[in-house]
């Protein structure tokens, strides 16, 4: 009995060593995770009350837009895509010398945390928002004026 206790006692420093190594290697997981990229699909849409109808390139999004807004024209101006790494910013140009900046900050189980900023031509943030998006879901950022209407930016993390 006495010898068994001493043998167990000798194991303790070994377990300590292993735990310390785990503690040292713990942050490695987040470092590896930081290398993951997030695929982003953006659609820049011009919406206005003027003749022109609905751009067929909008696909299924067109019906959702018509259910949400009362504009008569929806035109797809641009559809940039990017794959930024976590905590790295990705930018796309917008009409009017504006820029769209998206920074993925976390991903977990098919859900993504994004910081989205629309920057004016002077570099000021017109809107700065943080959203959580499920894979395949779309969030709209709209309102910046363009020509006789507004811009609507659809941001999707494709499945």
């Amino acid at each position: 009995m006495r010898h068994r206790r001493r043998s167990g006692h000798r194991m303790v420093p070994c377990v300590t060593l292993v735990c310390s190594l785990v503690a040292l290697l713990g942050p490695l997981h987040s470092t590896l995770d930081a290398q993951a990229t997030v695929t982003l699909r953006v659609q820049v849409i011009y919406a206005a009350n003027e003749p022109g109808g609905v751009d067929t390139r909008l696909g299924g999004l067109a019906a959702e837009l018509q259910r949400t807004f009362r504009y008569s024209k929806y035109e797809l101006l641009d559809s940039p895509q990017g794959s930024p790494a976590l905590n790295q910013s990705w930018q796309a140009g917008l009409p009017g010398d504006r820029r769209l900046e998206i920074t993925p900050t976390a991903m977990q189980g098919g859900q993504y945390s994004l910081t989205v900023r629309v920057l004016s031509s002077g570099g000021q943030a017109v809107v700065n928002t943080r959203v959580r998006l499920r894979s395949g879901a779309t969030v709209l950022v709209g309102g910046p004026s363009h020509r006789k209407g507004v811009l609507i930016i659809a941001i999707t993390v494709p499945q």
């Binding site: 010898h3 310390s20 785990v22 928002t129 950022v141």
Partner: protein, 172 residues
């Protein structure tokens, strides 16, 4: 095997037990095999043996009653709290803390692991409340408009789209 490996695996205590002849025969044989391969361990075991032997061979000291009376008075005088010897707290060396209190060091390591795991998961936002029940899969966590550009979040009835709308002044 290097001497420090012996110490890291808790064999310092075993050496002391070996020198004090407190080990079982099988354990004693294992220690002797280790000693043959580790000169530093042999020196350490010899030092333990010397101390152990000295303590066991010293004769008992007997004092006369008058010597005993002055002896205890002297002890009490020296252990008073205002003496300089007690002004310095006794601090164990780091090595003593690690080797002699392995459970303490184990608890520290476990606490470090929990701290690191907590920080890592916190950074990954595992603790933050995701909303898997959001019907459209979109949750607006925070929103901030620019100067003179108020913003609002809405979702039209019958639509699955969540909209962040900026009330920007029209450009002329």
């Amino acid at each position: 095997m290097p001497h420090w490996v012996h110490m890291a695996t808790g064999r310092g205590r075993r050496l002391a037990a070996y020198a004090a002849e407190e080990l079982a025969p099988a354990e004693r044989a294992r220690v002797e095999a280790d000693l043959r391969a580790c000169p530093a361990c042999r020196r350490e075991a010899e030092a333990y043996r010397l101390v152990s032997g000295t303590l066991r061979t010293q004769p008992l000291v007997r004092m006369a009653p008058e010597q005993a009376a002055t002896f205890w008075a002297g002890v009490e005088r020296r252990v008073r709290p205002d003496t300089t010897a007690l002004a310095r707290p006794a601090r164990p060396a780091l090595r003593e803390l690690f080797w002699d209190y392995p459970r303490l060091s184990l608890a520290s390591a476990v606490a470090a692991v929990i701290l690191v795991v907590g920080l890592t998961l916190g950074r990954m936002e595992v603790w933050s409340p995701w909303s898997p029940t959001a019907p459209n899969g979109v949750e607006v966590v925070s929103i901030e408009g620019g100067e003179d550009a108020p913003v609002m979040v809405f979702q039209a009835p019958g639509s699955s789209l969540k909209v962040i709308w900026v009330f920007e002044k029209p450009t002329s």
